[in-house]
Amino acid sequence: MTLGYFWSILFLSLHAMVPITLTAAGEVVGERAGLFNIGLEGILLLSAFTGALGAEAGGWPLGLLVGIGTGAVVGLFFGLVNAYWKGNQLITGVGINLFALGFVAFGLQALGTPGFHDVPRDVRLPAIQTPVGGLSPIVLLALVVPFAIHWFLNRTRAGLWVRAVGENPEAADVAGVPVELVRLLATTFGAALAGLAGAYMAISWMGSVTKEMAAGRGFIALATVVFSGLRPILTLAGGFIFGFFDSLATWIANIPGVKEAVPWQFVSTIPYIATLLVVTGVIGRVRFPKALGVPYRRE
């Protein structure tokens, strides 16, 4: 393998890292507040679809906004059901995933592009030109966001509140922290980041929408959250590991000779298996918020 290959795999890895890292970093905030959103996969898919529509209607800025907005709306719904109405987080999350699948399949059908919906080049997010190729600005954002979240959680008053409601909601309540509101906002923020990740996939990275495009990334993000032990900066590592194997698999699948001999479906399982192995292998003593997944009731 020449150096050129190395650089291009690194480059591809960075792009493939973005959805995982953004989604996982956002979910870290939600989980720190005590809400466990298994519907991330659905949010990625939904916001990829709506993001593409937004971009087609008003260019990439609108596309990104619509993607983020879609995530936020779903997050708001999730937060209302679970923080305020003490619903079942697992069921709500699964519901989001199922809804997204049905909705996007239906939407693509209605647009007349059931299999593959191309996002026109001129409404995609312009890339930054580098010697190795076009670099999406969102990659740079994704490299910064985990650090910003780390700072937020550990250095700000709001971050203290988020951690408190996840760790001991009763103590937070007694101290005058509005538990439900903090949980709602935290999970909404997390879902909005997943929304950004979805829009990125559609209008920057892939430039298309298919109903399979989330491809389990929401779940890999959840695994990454676990592996990171809810430390946002480590979601960069989790995202990069997945991105790396994802790119490697694409590269392997396209090597002449391999392409004919091994079905690509087989090769494309590599990143999932590899990520899960690394992620589960590395998990040490991870400490989760005590009230994660538990609704808070006063009496």
């Binding site: 009763e170 103590a171 937070a172 005058g176 509005p178």
Partner: protein, 513 residues
């Protein structure tokens, strides 16, 4: 008489499971007054104060603040109106540092300015805690100080303290009282809940007594006595002091017990036990002692001097070096279940962390640790629920535990009743060695007396008891020998007969005997 700061009228509280905790209570809080709130375990003291501090909504009744009816929908709203409460069960975030917990309570960031003002507050109140230690590493007494500091670091006009002194040492209690008097001088209205009548007589101006959810008396402190208060609390049928559990009544005179002990092998031998402290260094620095059958060895000392670590190491909850042998067998590092099989029972100081599973029912909690005993475990590892319920009913009757029902979650019991459940369960294991950490903490006078008698009874039967208590009087009253613990070592081991309070205070403060 000044206008009350707060008036509660006709407060009724019915919990969702149907328990009626308050049946129409009138209560007021006046500026510049310390009001004692007394009552047996389960009388409704915590419930009433939770309602006043916005944590629980009343089922019926209303609250007036400065004459205006208000609805306090959350502690946040109550705090905004200057009502602060120190809760009976700590409302602290375990993995936050002390400073972060205080920051949470003040709504300020955990920065240098806050650190400075908390340091100053610690100076004024005499309540000192390490600000950067995670709360989970603190002993119960230290956590109590954090709770108090947390509320005091806000400007409050009404201050409610739910059993704040149950784990404080006499010195700390005195300093706290001094501070409360100053607050009172500034016009703050204070509600003070305790089971210790001596404290009530010392600090309060007025006393309100609750019984089974009703106010049964309100008196001025200077016009009452301990006897009258006790009578009001328990109703007409005042139990005689020192009522002994019938089945344990033995009258072995002290001299005979001494005789029994000579020539007897110790059951528990601890040698050069060292337990690392959470933040580095050692919490227990090489302690050795022997525990004999038929004796109570008391460990006195200011909390946070390694008692917690000592007990947890012996009980298999924490690692330690050195040796601890139970009837010759090394037990350091053995899991708690194994220790129970070897005949060791542990009444933990932190009832929420190690004592109970709050969301489990009373019945389930009553067999914790014994779930595999053949009495409760049937074929195919199906629990024999009939036996479990029978056992729970037995405990409830024997320890007069007030519980909404066998299937009510443990968290629906009042604090004192939770404690009775733990003590009852541990003693029902028929252990040879009992490690009791703060066994009577939060119990009303009658219940505390019952537990003390029970411990004495067990001793007379020849069991060995290690008693750790922040209540010096309790240690001196019950123990055959007392050890004083200071910064991880014993400063003195002696008998209560050779002690007076002053000398005890010196040993607790680090003087070696």
């Amino acid at each position: 008489m000044p206008e009350p700061l707060l008036k509660a009228e006709g407060i009724v509280k019915v919990y969702p499971d149907g328990t009626v905790a308050l049946r129409g209570v009138d209560f007021d809080i006046r500026p510049g007054e310390i009001q004692g709130l007394l009552g047996e375990n389960g009388a409704g003291k915590t419930t009433l104060t939770k309602i006043i501090s916005g944590l629980l909504p009343p089922t019926l009744g209303r609250i007036l603040l400065g004459g205006e009816p208000v609805r306090l929908r959350s502690p946040k709203e109550a705090l905004a109106r200057g009502i602060g409460m120190v809760h009976q069960h700590f409302a602290l975030v375990d993995d936050f540092t002390v400073l972060e917990n205080i920051a949470l309570g003040t709504g300020r960031p955990a920065d240098r300015a806050l650190r400075a003002s908390v340091a100053e507050l610690m100076e004024r109140t005499g309540l000192r805690v390490p600000l950067d230690a995670p709360v989970e590493n603190l002993a119960v007494g230290e956590r109590q100080r954090v709770e108090i500091l947390k509320v005091l670091s806000r400007a409050v006009r009404i201050l409610i303290l739910d059993e704040p002194t149950s784990v404080l040492t006499p010195v700390e209690t005195d300093e706290l009282f001094g501070f409360l008097r100053r607050l009172k001088g500034e016009g703050v209205g204070i509600v003070f809940i305790t089971h210790k009548l001596r404290e009530v007589l010392e600090i309060t101006d007025r006393v309100t007594v609750l019984r089974r959810g009703e106010v049964v008396g309100e008196v001025l402190t200077r016009e009452t006595s301990a006897e009258e208060l006790a009578r009001m609390m328990v109703g007409a049928e005042l139990r005689p002091r020192g009522r002994r559990p019938v089945e344990l009544l033995t009258d072995i005179p002290r001299e005979r017990r001494e005789a029994v002990r000579t020539g007897v092998e110790p059951v528990l031998v601890v040698e050069d036990l060292r337990v690392p402290a959470e933040g580095g260094g050692e919490a227990v620095k090489g302690i050795s002692f022997e525990l004999y059958p038929g004796e109570i060895l008391g460990i006195a000392g200011v909390e946070g001097n390694g008692q917690t670590e000592l007990v947890e190491a012996i009980c298999g909850l924490r690692g330690g070096r050195g040796s601890a042998r139970l009837r010759g067998r090394e037990i350091l590092g053995l899991p708690p279940l194994e220790l129970y099989r070897l005949g060791l029972a542990h009444i933990p100081e932190d009832r929420w962390k190690y004592g109970l599973i709050l969301s489990f029912t009373v019945a389930e909690n009553s067999i914790l640790g014994r779930q595999r005993s053949p009495r409760f475990l049937g074929p195919l590892t199906v629990l024999r629920w009939g036996e479990v319920f029978a056992h729970a009913r037995e405990l409830i009757a024997r320890f007069s535990i007030q519980a909404p029902g066998l299937e009510a979650p443990a968290k629906s019991l009042s604090g004192g009743n939770q404690q009775k459940l733990i003590v009852g369960r541990e003693l029902s294991k028929e252990p040879d060695v009992v490690i009791a950490a703060q066994p009577t903490r939060g119990l009303d006078i009658g219940a505390a007396e019952y537990i003390r008698d029970l411990l004495l009874g067990l001793r007379d039967e020849g069991k060995a008891i290690l008693l750790v208590s922040a209540d010096l009087d309790e240690v001196l009253e019950l123990s055959d020998r007392v050890a004083f613990m200071y910064e991880g070592t014993f400063t003195a081991v002696t008998t209560p007969a050779e002690l007076d309070r002053e000398r005890a205070g010196l040993y607790m403060g680090g003087m070696r005997g």
